[in-house]
């Protein structure tokens, strides 16, 4: 649905030129929810703004529904933009218009008459749960309600594509979840393709099918979301996955943890299981085959799209030799093993 081909974006000229995007290639399939993540300043925003030509790429092609937007004249671009809805971090609602009139704006721009506007706006009020707020002004609404208005407005022209520029970044976690639910609903019920950018892995985890990781203007990793979470290939990918999954260590453990091995200290390990290995009876194997005791300190199971991801924090105890053998065994298994440190038994 969206094809980005060899897109480069350079700001400025000569020695002061800043490259914002480097040879980006990306394909968003029809009906998918596609997430682009990266740190601030990585070029995410520039990338999504290239999809509706709010930024013109320096080179490359941007195809939406088969149409190359970089080749259109002003009039053609305006028409194409009616097929591309967009929502923003700061909502960008008109303070001078009521909820109803805000949603009606894109239709007014297309010269729709008031009957057509009413026919389009009312189902959107229903869909976004704003029926009782129809005559309110944005200043009377909460952040989540404002984003709902913005979503309804973006859908008013029945676009095929919805672009979301950090749409939940200004919202609290609870509101974020409800907005993400709404986006997922829209995607399912209206079949709209969604391209979103975010710095929150939580967003990707909850609603995206595919994800691309962008760093310093380049796309460094691209994968199906479940696979990305279990098998990130780049260091930055690992880091992002970690921020989405990590839980704080149990109370007091951090202080007892030593970086160095020493006699009588026991290792604290973290195992990450995914796919089939979730079912493997690893812990009981350790106890039986190596006479190692396993104390579980923390455990979590995450369902990310179709993938199940399990994480286990445990302390191993036994003879040094037994522990060494157990660790070697774990390394040969289809799990990820990390040693967080060593603790003195209490």
């Amino acid at each position: 649905m969206i094809n980005i081909r060899s897109v480069n974006k350079v700001y400025g000229e000569g020695p002061n030129a800043v490259t914002a995007l480097r040879d980006i290639n990306l394909e968003v399939p029809q009906g998918g929810i596609y997430g682009v993540v990266g740190r601030s300043g990585a070029g995410k925003s520039t990338l999504i703004r290239c999809v509706n030509m709010l930024e013109t790429p320096t080179s490359g092609q941007v195809l939406v529904d088969g149409q190359d937007l970089t080749q259109l004249d002003e009039q053609g671009l305006r028409l194409a933009r009616h097929q591309i809805g967009m929502i923003f971090q700061h909502f960008n609602l008109l303070s001078s218009r009521t909820v109803y009139d805000n949603i009606a704006l894109p239709l007014e721009l297309m010269k729709a008459d008031s009957a057509q506007i009413k026919a389009a706006v009312e189902p959107l009020l229903e869909l976004t749960g704003l029926t009782d707020k129809v005559d309110h002004y944005p200043s009377q609404l909460s952040g989540g309600q404002k984003q709902r208005v913005a979503i309804a407005r973006a859908l008013a022209t029945k676009p095929k594509v919805l672009l979301s520029d950090e749409a939940t970044s200004a919202l609290d976690p609870h509101t974020t979840r409800s907005i993400l639910e709404l986006l997922k609903n829209i995607n399912r019920e209206l079949g709209i393709t969604i391209l979103l950018i975010t710095h929150e892995m939580e967003v990707v985890k909850r609603i995206c099918d595919r994800v691309a990781l962008i760093s310093d203007g380049s796309l460094i990793e691209e994968d199906e979301v479940g696979h990305f979470f279990t098998h990130p290939t780049t260091a930055l990918g690992h880091e992002f996955v970690e921020t989405a999954l990590s839980q704080p260590l149990p109370e007091g453990l951090e202080d007892r943890l030593h970086a160095n091995k020493a006699p009588s200290r026991r290792p604290v390990i973290r195992l990450t299981f995914s796919g089939d290995s979730v079912q493997a009876p690893l812990i009981t194997q350790l106890a039986r085959q190596f006479s190692v005791d396993v104390s579980i300190l923390q455990a979590q199971v995450e369902h990310i799209q179709s993938q199940v991801l399990g994480r286990l924090l445990a302390e191993l105890s036994g003879s040094d030799e037994a522990i060494a053998q157990a660790m070697t065994h774990l390394e040969s298994q289809p799990v990820r093993l990390e040693v967080l440190g060593y603790v003195q038994p209490v």
Partner: protein, 228 residues
């Protein structure tokens, strides 16, 4: 009204209540007409000054510099000098260089750049994200101006126009000094030239009351359109 007129008659001043009334009418006439014309011309100029800036959606940096320069020249000529220096133009336009109509020409001319700069300032307050959102919806430049920019800046625009009207009242009094008519002329003729302090005092009181009234009307209008 009659009791007011009796009170005025009982004051020991040389100007008659009828003269005061007429002068007040003349002042209002000058202010209202020049405010209307200067808004009609200053609003589009202010919009142009804003939208042609180099980071704006109708960026025309060279046009912007030319318009800006003209506006600055208009703003920097002191009113009293502008008034006398454009007398030939005034005579050509209204057939006379004295009287309220003559004053309207110079008042309007000095107010246009004033209105334009104030409105440009009000438009600068509109968050750029709104313009971007409108562009993403496929709005034409004219639609961005009429449906987004001006409605969103309306509270600021009404504030600007209130400031303009109040300024025009004080300028119209200055026009009175060179036979422009209105309260200013009355105050100068009686209060200054004939040493009639009471007439001076009464004209000042009327001017103060006018300013207060127009400012409250302006504030009420701003409150009405401000949903921010």
């Amino acid at each position: 009204m009659s009791s007011l007129s009796e009170t005025l008659s009982s004051l020991s001043m040389l100007a008659t209540p009828e003269q005061l009334l007429q002068a007040t009418g003349e002042t209002l006439y000058m202010v209202v007409v020049s405010a209307l014309i200067s808004t009609a011309l200053g609003l589009p100029l202010g919009v142009l000054l804003h939208v042609t800036r180099k980071d704006q959606f109708m960026s025309r940096p060279r046009l912007n510099r030319v318009l800006g320069a003209f506006t600055n020249i208009g703003r920097s000529v002191p009113y009293i000098i502008l008034m006398v220096s454009i007398l030939p133009l005034t005579r050509f336009l209204v057939g006379s260089s004295i009287g309220t109509n003559a004053a309207i020409v110079s008042l309007t001319l000095s107010a246009i750049p004033f209105v334009a700069r104030l409105i440009e300032g009000a438009l600068n307050e509109v968050p750029p994200g709104l313009i971007e959102a409108a562009q993403a919806m496929g709005a034409k430049p004219m639609q961005i101006i009429t449906k987004v920019l001006v409605p969103e800046a309306l509270p600021g625009i009404f504030n600007s126009l209130t400031v303009t009207v109040v300024t025009l009242i004080s300028y119209s009094a200055m026009a009175g000094a060179v036979a422009g008519g209105g309260l200013g002329a009355l105050g100068i003729n009686y209060g200054y030239q004939r040493f009639d302090g009471m007439t001076m005092l009464v004209t000042v009181i009327i001017l103060v009351a006018l300013v207060q009234l127009l400012q409250s009307v302006g504030d009420a209008l701003v409150r009405r359109v401000d949903h921010r």
